[in-house]
């Protein structure tokens, strides 16, 4: 049963990836300019080069054959060359995506660690002062634009107090070889004498962007968890369990939390796409060398192959994250486990 469900989900993943690839492929024909140079990333060329490219990209065959060739190149890692740098787009993405992922994952972890307990606390003290405090705080955090919050934090903590650095991922003092692309893991792997110092420096660089990025998902999760908890606590099976003689702690741990957190898992998955979008803004402000900043730069520079590749990588990632969240939700929820027919 569950295997069936997973297979269906994978089918959905496959289909969505297919649609995504069709869209990405069509983009190079829809963008202004020569489709061939949009695809390959080689700008205007002489005749010999042009005919060579035409052969490579099967440009004189029909669209379907071209699309198949495109898929083949995608799997080989030949995503074209960037107009701006002249390097392979794929290698750019491999370099840059981990930085974005690192930032997003930490922000997501922080928002779960802070948001879910805060939401539970709020529902436990419903309409008393802790709930009111949490509610008003999240309202403020929820309504604050990310870029403004980032600028405020930079002003206070970097410029006035000087606690945290303003931009970048790492102090210039340290040279960290990029193994995984995740800076904290890389430092742990690197094994050089000033490991502890480098680690601290990386954490200090991480602090402000992570806080900025975590703000929105945290407030969403707080409000969502609180609502969900209140809704579950009002249901008759909770009242029955209470009449059965369970105390408040048992009630919350055994019955309320499981039922209330199920929709929260789903919500976390949905937050991921918002998170990536917000990460782009955060990266620009904090000069974080991630895929978001690179993508925005590519848009400014009309670097079509880069836009194409970046779009594909980011979207693929969001789809994957959504499906993983959906799968986890289904694994935990006995009610939806039986509904093999998926919905997105």
């Amino acid at each position: 049963m569950i295997l069936d469900y997973i297979l269906r989900r994978l089918g959905l993943l496959l289909f969505m990836t297919l649609m995504l690839s069709v869209f990405t492929f069509s983009i190079s024909y829809l963008f202004p300019g020569d489709p061939l140079s949009n695809l390959s990333g080689v700008p205007s060329s002489n005749f010999a080069q042009h005919s060579e490219l035409e052969d490579k990209y099967l440009y004189n065959s029909n669209y379907f054959v071209q699309y198949i060739a495109f898929l083949g190149r995608i799997f080989q890692g030949d995503w074209g060359l960037s107009f701006a740098s002249g390097d392979n787009v794929f290698s750019h993405i491999v370099d840059l995506l981990p930085a974005t992922l690192e930032l997003s994952v930490y922000a997501l972890i922080i928002s779960i660690v802070v948001g879910v307990p805060a939401g539970i606390l709020g529902s436990a003290y419903y309409k008393r002062w802790p709930d009111k405090l949490i509610n008003s705080t999240t309202m403020v955090g929820y309504s604050m634009p990310v870029f403004w919050l980032a600028l405020l934090l930079i002003m206070v903590f970097s410029l006035k107090l000087g606690w945290f650095p303003m931009s970048g991922r790492m102090g210039l003092l340290y040279e960290i070889p990029a193994n995984t692309g995740f800076i904290l893991i890389d430092i742990a792997l690197a094994g050089f004498p000033y490991k502890g110092m480098a680690f601290l420096d990386a954490l200090r660089h991480l602090t402000l962007p992570t806080i900025v990025l975590a703000m929105y998902p945290t407030t969403v999760l707080v409000r969502f968890t609180r609502e969900s908890m209140l809704k579950v606590m009002d249901q008759s099976f909770i009242k029955t369990a209470r009449a059965k003689g369970l105390n408040r702690r048992q009630l919350i741990i055994h019955h309320a939390l499981r039922n209330a957190l199920l929709p929260v898992i789903k919500q976390i998955g949905l937050q991921f796409s918002t998170l990536i979008t917000l990460a782009m803004i955060t990266e620009v402000i904090f000069s974080w060398p991630g895929i978001g900043r690179w993508l925005i730069d590519s848009i400014y520079q009309r670097d079509y192959p880069a836009i194409q590749g970046g779009l594909m990588a980011v979207s693929l990632f969001v789809i994957l994250a959504t499906i993983i969240a959906e799968l986890t939700y289904t694994l935990f929820d006995p009610l939806s486990r039986n509904q093999a027919h998926g919905k997105v």
Binding site: D234, Q235, S236, F237, K239, T240, A241, R242, A243, K244, G245, L246, N247, Q250, H254, H255, R258, N259, L262, D333, P334, L335, N338
Partner: protein, 330 residues
């Protein structure tokens, strides 16, 4: 000994415009080892009374009572925590909608196991675990579920309403309560298991001296073994008394109508013969008539019925009617 003593229990629902009195000054008492029945049409507030006693009503409902004594302790005056302890120790309730009263994400075994009272016997972890399993199994066999393994390993939504109902009953009797409130315990069951459940409840009453407050609209089922019957109409207690008296000499027109509506199979029924029924339907809570709430439907109604009748008590048989059916008495 008086087990439960309720005086003038009133349950009101506050809406934005008015206050709706769903249960109006209901009084009754229950002795140890007795079986009492609350009967009435659906919507007459039977379940509300039961839920008010157990204390599981929402905050929207406003409950007032002159007294609600449980073995000499006034439940209304206890803190919620004390009340929960007292109630969970001695009172158990079988709910009407079993599938909604079971946690949808917990397996049946866990839900039954957590109602078991703390095991006094000390033992190794594994041994205690096995004991718990055996006790749950015994409970579930008691309520007539034979394939215990499959049932205990499933979630509420995977089982039929009838099986859920049985699990609810198993949970209710797990702590051997002094009072069992059964809110239409057999609505979702097929007739063979229905008889089985009634047999079980009867034996619990006789062997373990468990008091039972039955809420039902099936008069025949409870007529043979209940000690007292309370008839409710629209949230008002219309008649209460020992079962045999209610059946032999109903004083209230509504009780009479209820008894008349029972099909008499001994006489035989003609083909498509209509059952006796009062004209009209039970009024909605928003449009309750003043005075005696039966007034508009009552065959005996007169001008005086616009004033709420007082409860008259006579030899343990009480009724609230201006024009009781005394002439029918032999």
């Amino acid at each position: 000994m008086q087990l439960l003593d309720v005086r003038n229990l009133t349950i009101e629902l506050r809406t934005s415009e008015t206050i709706i009195r769903a249960v109006d000054k209901v009084s009754f008492s229950l002795k140890e080892g007795e079986v009492h029945a609350l009967v009435g049409e659906s919507g007459s507030g039977k379940s509300l009374i039961a839920k008010a006693i157990v204390g599981v009503l929402n905050e929207r409902w406003n409950i007032t009572a002159d007294r609600m004594h449980w073995r000499g302790v006034d439940l209304m005056r206890l803190t919620p925590e004390q009340r929960r302890k007292t109630v969970s120790q001695d009172i158990a309730m079988i709910y009407q909608d079993p599938s909604r009263c079971l946690d949808p994400t917990a397996k049946m075994f866990d839900q039954i196991a957590e109602t078991l009272p703390e095991n006094p016997t000390k033992g190794f972890f594994l041994k205690r675990n096995r004991e718990r399993k055996d006790r749950v199994k015994a409970l579930i066999h008691k309520v007539g579920i034979k394939n215990h393994e499959a049932v205990l390993d499933s979630y509420p939504h995977e089982l039929s309403e009838g099986v859920c109902q049985k699990v609810m009953i198993a949970m209710a009797i797990a702590r051997t309560p002094k009072l069992l409130i059964a809110d239409e315990p057999t609505t979702a069951l097929e007739s063979t298991t229905r008889a089985q459940v009634f047999r079980l409840l009867k034996s619990l009453n006789q062997l373990k001296n468990m008091s039972i407050l039955m809420i039902s609209h099936e008069l025949e089922e409870i007529a043979h073994w209940s000690h007292g019957i309370h008839v409710l109409y629209c949230g008002q207690m219309v008649e209460a008394g020992p079962t045999h008296k209610i059946f032999s000499q109903p004083r209230h027109p509504y009780t009479q109508a209820l008894l008349k509506s029972l099909p008499d199979y001994e006489q035989g029924l003609a083909h498509k013969e209509p059952f006796y029924a009062l004209k009209g339907t039970i009024p909605t809570l928003q449009h309750l008539p003043i005075g005696c709430r039966l007034g508009p439907r009552c065959p005996q109604a007169q001008k005086a019925c616009v004033v709420t009748p007082k409860l008259t008590k006579h030899n343990g048989h009480s009724y609230a009617c201006h024009f009781p059916l005394i002439k029918d008495m032999r």
